[in-house]
Amino acid sequence: MRKTLLRLEGLSKSYPGVRANDDISFEIGEGQMHALLGENGAGKSTLVKMIYGLVRPDAGAMTLRGAAYAPSQPSEARRNGVAMVFQHFSLFDALDVAENVALGMENPPPLRDLAARIRTVSEEYGLPLDPSRLVGELSAGERQRVEIVRCLLQDPKLLIMDEPTSVLTPQEVEILFRTLRQLSGEGTAILYISHKLEEIRALCDEATILRGGRKVATCDPREKSARELAELMVGQLLTPPERPERPFGEVVLEVEKLSLKSNNPFGTSLKDISFQLRAGEVLGIAGVAGNGQDELLLMLSGELRAPSPQVRLKGDPVGHLGPNGRRAMGLVAAPEERLGHAAAPDMSLTENALLSASRRKRLERGGFIDWGKTEAFAREVITRFDVRTPGPHVLARALSGGNLQKFVIGREIELDPDVIIVNQPTWGVDAAAAATIRQALLDLAGKGAAVLVISQDLDELLEVADSFAALNEGRLTPVRPAKGLNVEEIGLMMGGAHDMHVAHEAAQ
């Protein structure tokens, strides 16, 4: 029996209106790989924030190596050997790697010594890094290495990883796991947060499952099937979306040899993109974040203008048209960022419905808004997509991420488009809502619309897509039929593991 490293007893935390954590108790042993599983909003983030000293529990106690442990801020947690790799990276684009590492340390050595230590540690664990590069120029995988190296330099006893693989290619995930196993072998405990069940079954030796802020089970994930774990997480039975066989129609959207410079200095420019999308087809585009997904969506939605003849909608050149012009022609889009891009945070759902639907639903007449009709449309979206909200007068920012996502996707689907482009349609959405959104997209395709799904979630793409391509550094691979593709092949399409393989082999 290994020794207990961290024991949680009855931890509770409430926010106004929400009981985020309710009486949670479990133990993490030294060198153990412990998974924390749960849907979005189950309370995983709040729980680890308490362990890392960002949030103070209302009730309950923690014991670290037998001594009482109640960190009031992250620096205290770090001094006690608790380190954390964040889900949304806590990095500074305009600072270099060494400075970013130094900011996460308690007593960093002078920058020159630190740079040398970064090189040593990163090579030892197969995570090559150049300390003098600006973080804004790094890929998502490299940025994560910065975070991990930052933690490793402090010899952590407990490493908390918050959904670390959501931005990695399958090959990069493999290497991350090797690093984590190496750490675990050296006695570092790892608290691994994820909702990717196969990963957890491959990696962890114990799992604690949260649902609605409560602990529902602690089990050995290797002894359960992914389905059993999922049902524990969700608390209900899950049905995979239905996908009727159907013939494809004519080509409706066509992009030919398009190169386009990004409008963001840290963005990725599109290089020589070509593809065709037929009526009734669902095209899935995979890729690690930051490989041109945002730019592709902006280019297709019309927010970034392109040379006209290279983007064609039903045969007509549309590159010069803005989003409204393209909507009128039947092309709608739902971007990844919900607050501030897909929806205006401080406007009501009715107003947000108006913003994208006014043209196709004729909600405006002679420059005046028909509020009655607009509200009816917003209500329709809310009912059909099961958006949990008191009514259409509620501000967009007041909705939880998953609910708002259902609303913004539903709003576009209700427009009866001929082509719909979505980026990360189920990002941060719980499993039940994600299933609704995927089913709605498939239904739309069944009715003859062309659907383009950009996503970093491979399981999602394999579930909905008929054909498949990947973005890698702004280039799009040729489109292939999704049937018969396996994860290995997709990983290679996504660009493999960049330079990580070599480094790992060199380190061994």
């Binding site: 960002l54 806590s90 500074f92 684009d93 305009a94 400075e99 200095p265």
Partner: protein, 309 residues
């Protein structure tokens, strides 16, 4: 030959004097913006420094105590801004504008009894033989201590931002306040301190106008120096040494146009007085054209910070 009547050594000396107030204000604002806060109240804090510095200097008879008073006066107004924007979460742009209007009004009231008085003279720093060097001595080594202090301050800010840990934390807070918070840094504390430093610098700059450059107190005497300082920070791409270069460039244009006026060039005086401002606009347009977000601008500039946890 009209231009022949302008002595380059005197011109250079006058340029440094003309540049010092905006340089002081700009280097303060640079630190504030590096911490992610846009304080448009520089003009208000400068006039506050000009007024308080003048009052303190006249009453104590010491220009040095006057400068200290000016820094405190600017800092007091900056603290008001910090209270509004960091504690009460008001909009930074609106609060900054209000600060300028408030400063102009308040100083008009406070300074009423001081109009027309001559302040105690600030002695020139005696640099001995250095000031006897031909040309350079006249141009560079005949100034008061504040001119040199402003240059030292630029060097200090440069060193602080580039090499010190505190400076790195300040840049981190300005670049991505959410990440800085997640790592456990006190975003608001850093910002309040930066705002106070900015206020003190602006105050010093204002006092340099009323105690040395003019030297007199009149209502609204900063006439836009604060706005020039703000433009200068952008011009300098948030880099201290470039701020120095920009300030001297601007000072040069001011002094040159004054000399041209005095030399009787046949251009209407109004056009000459406009020229420094026109050049500021021109430079800003050239710098900001052709790019999206400038790579140099702090990532969290003018974004309010709410701690969500």
């Amino acid at each position: 030959m009209i231009l022949g009547s302008i002595n380059p050594a005197v011109l250079l000396a006058a340029l440094m004097v003309a540049a010092t107030p905006i340089l002081l204000a700009a280097i303060g604002e640079l630190v504030v913006e590096k911490a992610g806060v846009l304080n448009l109240g520089v003009e208000g804090m400068m006039i506050m420094g000009a007024c308080i510095g003048f009052i303190v200097a006249v009453n104590t008879g010491s220009p040095f105590i006057g400068f200290i008073g000016a820094a405190l006066g600017g800092m007091a107004l900056a603290l008001l801004f910090a209270l509004l924007t960091q504690a009460l979460m008001t909009n930074q742009v609106a609060s900054g504008l209000a600060l300028t209007l408030f400063g102009l009004g308040l100083t008009a009231l406070l300074g009423q009894r001081y109009v027309g008085i001559t302040p105690p003279r600030t002695p020139k720093l005696d640099l001995g033989p250095l000031s006897d060097i031909p040309f350079l001595g006249r141009a560079l080594f005949t100034h008061d201590i504040v001119v040199y202090l402003s240059i030292v301050l630029v060097a200090a800010v440069w060193w602080f931002l580039k090499y010190s840990r505190a400076g790195m934390i300040l840049r981190a807070v300005g670049e991505n306040h959410d990440a800085a918070h997640a790592l456990g840094y006190h975003v608001k504390r850093v910002r309040v301190l930066a705002i106070m430093f900015g206020g003190a610098c602006a105050g010093l700059g204002g006092a340099y106008l009323s105690l040395i450059r003019v030297p007199q107190w009149t209502e609204g005497m900063t006439v836009g120096a604060g706005w020039i300082a703000l433009a200068l920070v952008v011009f300098a791409s948030w880099r201290p040494w470039r701020a120095l270069a920009g300030a001297y460039l601007f000072g040069g244009v001011v002094v040159l146009q004054l000399n041209l006026q005095a030399a009787g060039v046949r251009i209407p005086v109004e056009y000459l007085s406009m020229s420094p401002y026109l050049i500021t606009i021109l430079v800003l347009v050239i710098i900001s054209s052709g790019k999206g977000r400038s790579l140099d601008a702090p990532g969290s500039l003018n974004r309010p910070f709410h701690a969500s946890s």
